[in-house]
């Protein structure tokens, strides 16, 4: 069966084309074209949007707005996004980063989707042509979006300096697929943790919050002793994936180790 590419200048027209059951959205190609190369015949039409505004980044004060077609490379190069650049740099090698988009990363199944883990820690908002949704709610239903609904952008408040932490653990250096990925925004005041938002990748089939650990960190000093309770409950609610990279058991075992390193670094 052949594959047809349909290009549209506007999101609305592409949305209409995506109502066809055999269609799929094409971002950077690292998920959709890979699927076709692997023999996925569940779709025969790829739909893309050429609207250049989807490839724009704007930062006003502490508010960042990143179009869905923005690539990981563009994020790593943007002077106002240096704080979150490590999360974009963690995605693939240089060629993948020149292709992989923010919008695609939101849909990437574990063990992929490292940038979406960061966006979850940042409490990002996902934008569609007809509204917005908090990222946590979006991730929960991302496969069940109405046909034709297209993610156009994400927005979030840039983390205050020194509060954003990110770690991707992989077996191959310098680059490899994720064993697990952790992103956290940790606020501190008067020697104690005043706010904590921790997101985990590969500890479920999609990025998830470590809410028990977040609660256990509240009011504690960021020391080995202070974070001990949080580490004990860091795996609460997780269902780590098992794949060729690591077993679910292994991922669960090493989560507290890497979370500790992330919190204390």
């Amino acid at each position: 069966m052949g594959l047809t590419l349909q290009s549209f200048p506007a999101v609305a027209e592409a949305g209409a084309a995506l109502t066809a059951a055999d269609s799929r959205y094409l971002g950077g190609g690292t998920l959709a074209v890979r699927a076709t190369n692997e023999g996925d015949v569940s779709f025969s039409t790829l739909v893309r949007v050429t609207d250049p505004t989807l490839g724009e980044i704007s930062v006003n004060g502490s508010q960042a707005h990143i179009g869905a077609s923005v690539t990981m490379s563009a994020i790593t190069r943007h002077p106002d996004l240096a704080a979150i650049a490590p999360a974009a740099r963690a995605v693939g090698g240089p060629a993948v980063r020149n292709m992989a988009t923010v919008g695609g990363n939101l849909f990437a199944p574990a063990p992929y989707g490292d940038f979406a883990v960061a966006l979850l820690a940042l409490d990002a908002t996902v934008h569609f042509s007809d509204g917005t949704q908090p990222i946590e709610a979006f991730l929960a239903i991302r496969e069940m979006l109405p046909r034709g609904r297209i993610v156009t952008a994400v927005s979030f408040t840039l983390p205050p300096p020194g509060t954003f932490r990110f770690r991707k653990v992989s077996r191959v250096k310098p680059k490899g697929v994720s064993v697990l990925t952790i992103a956290a925004v940790i606020g501190e005041k008067d020697g104690a943790i005043s706010s904590a938002r921790i997101a985990l990748g590969c500890l479920a089939d999609r990025p998830m919050r470590a809410k028990a650990a977040e609660r256990a960190l509240a009011g504690k000093p960021r020391t080995s002793q202070g974070i001990a309770d949080a580490l004990k409950v860091s795996g609460d609610g997780t269902s780590p994936i098992t794949d060729a990279i690591a077993s679910g058991w292994y991922r669960a075992e090493v989560l507290p180790v890497h979370l500790k390193r992330l919190l204390l670094e």
Partner: protein, 160 residues
């Protein structure tokens, strides 16, 4: 099935071909444009053997649809030698035994070319990062890293 026209500048030469819809740039280059220098390894975006430069950016031609490259400038290793003279990267790879079976070499060289265009005097870490999306199962990488550093040095000596 209807053919789709694709027009691009391949290694400095304007080319046009009719291709099947949904054809990857890798397959279009190899089967329609006659440039077999990019290699098809994994077709999953993992091995980097198909790496080419599209409008100045390193891309994986196996995951790029040829139709999306309409009007683009595409560079492959086939276009590196000029008037029979090897490109400094090609020379350095040969001199440094950075190619054994050679399958990864076109992708490695294009990744290196993209790096040197951006960072003319890269550190070792820059080189390692630049080829982190390219897999070599022969050399152990060290000769490749050294070849790229050597090509960068010879470039800067020629420019001086």
């Amino acid at each position: 099935m209807a053919k789709v026209p694709v027009q691009l500048t391949l290694n400095g030469t304007e080319r046009a071909e009719f291709i099947d819809g949904g054809l990857t740039l890798l397959n279009a280059l190899r089967d329609r444009f006659g440039d077999t220098s990019p290699k098809g390894g994994c077709h999953q975006g993992t091995c980097g053997a198909c790496s080419v430069i599209v409008d100045g950016d390193l891309k994986l031609s196996c995951l790029t649809l040829a139709e999306t490259c309409n009007g683009a400038h595409v560079e492959t290793t086939a276009g590196l030698a000029a008037d029979g003279i090897q490109h400094p990267l090609q020379r350095a790879f040969l001199d440094g035994f950075a190619a054994q079976c050679g399958f990864c070499t076109p992708g490695m060289i294009m990744a290196a070319k993209a790096l040197l265009a951006r960072v003319p005097n890269p550190s070792r870490d820059d080189v390692v990062e630049a080829i982190s999306g390219n897999i070599c199962r022969c050399t152990g990488y060290e000769p490749i890293i050294q070849a790229i550093l050597s090509a960068a040095r010879s470039n800067s000596q020629n420019a001086a």
